[in-house]
Symmetry: C2
């Protein structure tokens, strides 16, 4: 695979780096002045011409400089990138950014997404920990008035959801007890995705008690359970996309794409390596043809649990961004592991 001569590699790397920095196609002369190579522009031209023929570079038009092709980016990411450690400054920024949310997994992921998006000027899509098999761990009902109560639901992965609930009739001690009975026997320990209004009703029907009174509570529990599964995806910094001139008006289309949940979850799931880079048309979706997606997994207590994904223009600063993503996912995994252990 490594059929490229040393000098070709050096040139390819230089083209990628300069193009990433300036956004302008890079020409033979410009390349010399930026790298300080001691050959003439004609030599560079020959080499670049070779690289173009091999498919690593391409030309917007005859009389322009060269820009990396997708294959070129790919080769760069796989073989040429140096500096695989995170920058000390970025490290600090990340740590400071998430410090306020360390104890709470859901908020941690939200903060992490924002910080990473800010840092990289990309959009960040993350999934909260737990996969599809999130289990309901605890439910609390706290009366706060004659007709209303707060409901709190905690899952095995440390996600906490709460809401107020208003009853049509008075909230008596009896009703509370009945509620807890039902919860204990039919909800605790079940996967969140299994809780539906229908399943609840059949449960309620089979139990003695004031089914009618409890209906709003049951509905609220379902809604909380649903929000656990639904809100697994967190999208941060999507407005950053507008700051890249690469997208032009395409940014709007991309934003619309990101606001659809289903394809997005496909984008950041289903990777096998701990960190995966998909460049341009390597992505399954046409809407991402000018974007690169960097996805990394974090693990909680040793098991893969969720992912953090970055979406930005193909022309992104892989060299700095990849280590940041790597660092953040490790950190997040560690912190969540810590937060949910007993």
């Amino acid at each position: 695979m490594s059929e490229l001569s040393e000098r070709k590699k050096q040139i390819l790397a230089a083209v990628v780096e300069q193009y990433v920095k300036t956004g302008e196609p890079v020409g033979s002369k410009g390349l010399i002045s930026s790298t300080g190579m001691s050959v003439s522009s004609a030599t560079i031209r020959n080499e670049m011409s070779d690289l173009a023929a091999m498919g690593y570079l391409e030309q917007p038009h005859t009389s322009a400089g060269r820009i990396p092709s997708q294959k070129g980016y790919r080769y760069y990411v796989d073989n040429l990138m140096k500096n695989r450690e995170i920058d000390e400054i970025n490290k600090r920024i990340i740590e400071a950014g998430i410090s306020s949310a360390v104890g709470d997994p859901e908020r941690l992921i939200a903060r992490a997404s924002e910080v990473l998006a800010d840092l990289t000027k990309c959009a960040c899509v993350s999934s909260t920990p737990g996969g599809d098999a999130v289990i309901i761990r605890k439910i609390e009902l706290v009366p706060v008035g004659i007709h209303s109560a707060m409901l709190v639901l905690l899952t095995s992965n440390g996600i906490l959801k709460s809401r107020l609930c208003r009853l049509d009739c008075e909230l008596t001690v009896t009703i509370c007890e009945q509620f807890y009975n039902i919860v204990k026997s039919c909800i605790i320990g079940k996967p969140a995705s299994d809780i539906s209004v229908v399943s609840m009703q059949t449960v309620a029907a089979s139990v003695d008690g004031d089914v009618f009174a409890m209906l709003p509570l049951m509905a609220a529990v379902c809604e909380l359970a649903r929000s656990v599964s639904d809100s697994r995806l967190v999208l941060g910094g999507s407005s950053n996309l507008f700051s890249h001139k690469d997208y032009g008006t395409g940014a709007i289309e991309l934003l619309e794409f990101l606001n659809k949940r289903e394809p997005l979850s496909e984008v950041i799931s289903g990777i096998s390596e701990p960190l995966n880079v998909k460049i341009g048309r390597e992505n399954l979706y046409r809407q991402l043809e000018n974007s690169s997606v960097i996805v990394a997994k974090y693990s909680v207590g040793g098991d893969d649990s969720g992912t953090i994904g970055l979406i930005g223009p193909t022309r992104m600063d892989y060299e700095n961004i990849i280590p940041s993503v790597k660092y953040l996912t490790n950190l997040v995994g560690r912190l969540i592991t810590q937060a949910i252990e007993e």
Copy 2:
């Protein structure tokens, strides 16, 4: 003030409405064909010329049609708009959109903002109920493991905040009791904005008990209290701004402005009427010179409590948007009042 002849009013209204609809400057002929007025284009030209001289219309350049000036929009909004009732369809959309969040004030505001933003294609900024005098009503501490607990905080305005909290040492019954004692004597009934780490520490110091063990809990309570005051602003649908060609690339700048919290809260606060329309440079901020801001207050239990604000291009469909905002604020006020009454 009403120095305009009937025909001038009719023309001004027609210009505003047609320009709002098409985005193109409207000329004398086009105006005739769209209104069906039975005068010649020359007459219209004379009238439009007058209106321009009076400052109600302006010309992008000599040989273009007329567009409303800010003064023209103002006159239109104050005097010419008909149809001050909400459209039945919009009513349905709003009701359906917020139905899932009716019982929970915070989520209700969030949904309301999104629905309104969607409906109007504007950005929506709302404040959660309660003003600055939100009082802590209830705090619950529920152990979920040896070292961790969930903390739930409820305020007088029905805002519920919860998070996980991890302790450095074991969470004993004694610690729970001490915690509740402190909470009961020093936190419940206090304004959320008064709770700070410092005040907590002085409290803790004056109380017998394991101050060190309780520190994480206290910090978490502070953080929750702070998040009650901090997250009072909800911003929805900001990406809608990109769909208006009026803004062009200015949309990016506007978006950046909206992402700053402080000026934004000034924009939607400090109005005296129940519904206020600020057009273009009537706004205090330069960044809003091409935007109009519609702000309406909702009241909970008879008191002004929060506001819902819409931000969109000056060329917006005031005639439909204003009634929608009015309707939504009333509805939200009613629903929150209902949700937090005992």
